[in-house]
């Protein structure tokens, strides 16, 4: 039924192509890591798998932001909060999986609770020993936060920078709250020292490969979802709300619901990205709530090109790969490089990398069509033959 739905929404070939690419990466990279011997020229070291797994999660996160920013025009400066909540939900599951292998050997309490003298597990930790429960919370926690937050904000018609800033306030407040040890989430050290997931050691190459593949599949599903939403009538409605929210009201639409749906869906996507991210990087801590992190998500999206589906993915991967490379290659000067990249993109690629490329592509197509048209008119079919040969 769901697939039917997606198919009915005419997905364009760009999306289909990117789906293929993402899934191919999802399969080939781990395969090259596991199946090829270390010396093989095509062998992908585990280090790269871990790195790219992380990028895929960031890509999904950027895509989720694009859904609200690119389509509905909600510039969320707090999307890191949803990512982090998903991450914490997963982290709590992973913590419970440690069992007696913690440093104090306590079968239920995570280490940080033991040494801060907690006697029993707080209520909100219960259930997280079950994967299914954690999986639901991965989506529910950010989804619910987004729903409640959005419900009030959109109904009150909080828009524009006002909305942006209160999303920032939200993530900032959450960051401060999660910093507090009393909250029961490990304070600023966060949750770490994970051992295994679903019974598989989190450090084994096979688990890594599986996580990598899962991230790729999640990203592909994200692309499919955003693509289908964008192509549907709802997609047009999102853009209409973005461009002239008031006008949609006079047509009888409820822009608050349009936004709420996108915002919540996007938060769930972000939460899933966070959940996949945590086992791959091995830690979740309140730093993920930091406003600057959320701004970075916006940056990735803008670099790639907002409102395009592939753009945010490329942006996230490119910026993070750049960061990984630059911090190692020229650790003292990499901020210059990254800063310059951002400035250059805004100046020279005003719609982001993909946005500008697509714009250029469209213009080229139109120009060609126009030329063909003209030539056809003035010079007859003979002149248009070389065109056809191309």
């Amino acid at each position: 039924m769901i697939t039917g739905y997606f198919l009915r929404q005419g997905l364009n070939r760009w999306i289909i192509a990117s789906l293929v690419v993402i899934l191919a990466i999802g399969i080939l990279v781990p395969a090259a890591n596991l199946l090829l011997p270390a010396g093989h020229p095509l062998h992908v070291p585990s280090y790269i798998v871990a790195l790219f797994g992380k990028y895929l999660c960031y890509a999904l996160l950027a895509l989720s932001l694009d859904l609200v920013w690119g389509y509905v025009g909600i510039l969320s400066l707090g999307h890191g909060a949803f990512f982090a909540l998903g991450g914490y939900a997963m982290g709590m599951y992973l913590m419970r999986q440690i069992g007696t292998r913690g440093v104090y050997g306590d079968p239920t309490l995570p280490d940080f609770m033991v040494f801060l003298n907690w006697k029993e597990l707080p209520w909100f930790w219960s259930g997280f020993d079950q994967f299914w429960f954690a999986a639901i919370m991965v989506m529910l926690a950010p989804g619910l936060l987004a729903f409640v937050f959005g419900w009030f904000a959109f109904r009150s018609r909080v828009t524009g920078v006002y909305l942006s800033i209160i999303t920032q306030a939200m993530t900032y407040a959450l960051m401060l709250a999660f910093f507090r040890n009393d909250m029961g989430f490990g304070g600023n050290n966060g949750l770490t020292d994970f051992k295994d997931i679903l019974g598989y050691s989190i450090q084994s190459d096979q688990t890594r490969a599986a996580l990598f593949l899962s991230s790729a599949v999640a990203l592909a599903l994200g692309v499919l979802l955003v693509g289908a939403l964008g192509a549907s009538r709802y997609g047009k409605l999102m853009v209409a709300v973005r461009d002239a929210e008031d006008r949609t009201r006079f047509l009888g639409y409820r822009p608050e619901f349009v936004k709420l749906f996108a915002f919540t869906a996007s938060a769930v996507m972000a939460g899933i990205a966070g959940a996949l991210y945590v086992p791959q990087v091995g830690i979740i801590n309140p730093g993920e709530f930091a406003p600057a992190n959320s701004i970075e998500i916006v940056i990735w999206t803008a670099v790639g090109g907002r409102g395009t589906i592939i753009g945010p993915i490329i942006g996230a991967i490119l910026v993070n790969a750049g960061k990984s490379a630059f911090t190692g290659l020229f650790p003292e000067y990499w901020l210059f490089a990254l800063g310059a990249l951002f400035i250059a993109v805004t100046l020279f690629l005003p719609k982001g990398i993909v946005g500008t490329a697509m714009h250029g592509w469209d213009a080229l197509q139109r120009l060609r069509a126009a030329r063909r048209h003209e030539e056809g008119r003035h010079d007859g079919p003979a002149a248009s033959q070389p065109e056809a040969a191309e």
């Binding site: 213009a363 139109r366 120009l367 126009a370």
Partner: protein, 231 residues
């Protein structure tokens, strides 16, 4: 005074003006007519410098306006009443008018009496925000604002749009007055034919980015000329 020669203008790949030539003389009212989307506003944009020409020239008082920015043209004496009013919404009516001081020497920085004589309602609303005014009031403010700059050439893009009949008549009288008393060159884009006919010294009709007719106001009574304006 203003000589436009073979002006072409593109929006991306779309061509809005395809070689327009036009002149505006001091102390004359030149009326530009044409159906929707034929390029009237585009022509105005080209004149005031809001959109660059692809080719062709615009000369004002002998000076070539190649890529001169809009503010230089305004300072050279082009006053502009744009389509859609373009009031500064958060400035008060007084401040909206005062924006016209920018190109004036200090001694001339006051609002000419003609403005309030023409549009008494503005006087009552000096401290209200421009954006709060009704559509017609905004239109009046837009015209008043252009007059504050003491232009040599006044370019008006459908200035009567949304204005009540009595004031349309006043505007007509005012334009004649400005032409006769100050020798102002007036370039008037209009759809409202009767208004045009009553005022114009000469008319140009645009169609699909080219001038298809040029002549005197009385031409508008000729059916073959009017045909350019019907659907």
């Amino acid at each position: 005074m203003l000589i436009i020669d073979n002006a072409r203008l593109h929006y991306g790949a779309a061509e809005a003006l395809r070689g327009v030539s036009l002149e505006a003389e001091p102390a004359t009212i030149t009326c530009i007519l044409g159906r929707n989307g034929v390029g009237k506003t585009s022509l105005m944009r080209a004149i005031v410098g809001h959109h660059p020409l692809t080719s062709g020239t615009i000369r004002f008082n002998g000076e070539v306006f190649a890529r001169r920015p809009a503010y230089d043209r305004a300072r050279a004496g082009i006053g502009f009443v744009p389509q859609g009013r373009e009031i500064f919404p958060l400035l008060t009516v007084r401040e909206n008018l005062q924006t016209g001081y920018a190109g004036l020497p200090r001694s001339e920085r006051h609002i000419p009496d003609t403005v309030f004589e023409l549009f008494p309602v503005l006087k009552d609303m000096l401290n209200r925000r421009g954006g709060d005014l009704s559509g017609g009031q905004q239109q009046q403010l837009a015209i008043g604002r252009a007059l504050v700059t003491r232009p040599k050439l006044l370019a008006l893009d459908e200035p009567t749009e949304g204005i009540q009949p009595s004031i349309i008549k006043d505007i007509g009288r005012a334009l004649t007055f400005l032409r006769d008393e100050f020798g102002m060159a007036i370039l008037l884009v209009e759809q409202y034919l009767d208004f045009c006919r009553g005022l114009a010294d000469s008319v140009s009709i645009l169609d699909r980015g080219v001038v298809v007719h040029q002549g005197v106001a009385e031409d508008l009574d000729r059916p073959e000329v009017r045909a350019h304006l019907t659907v």
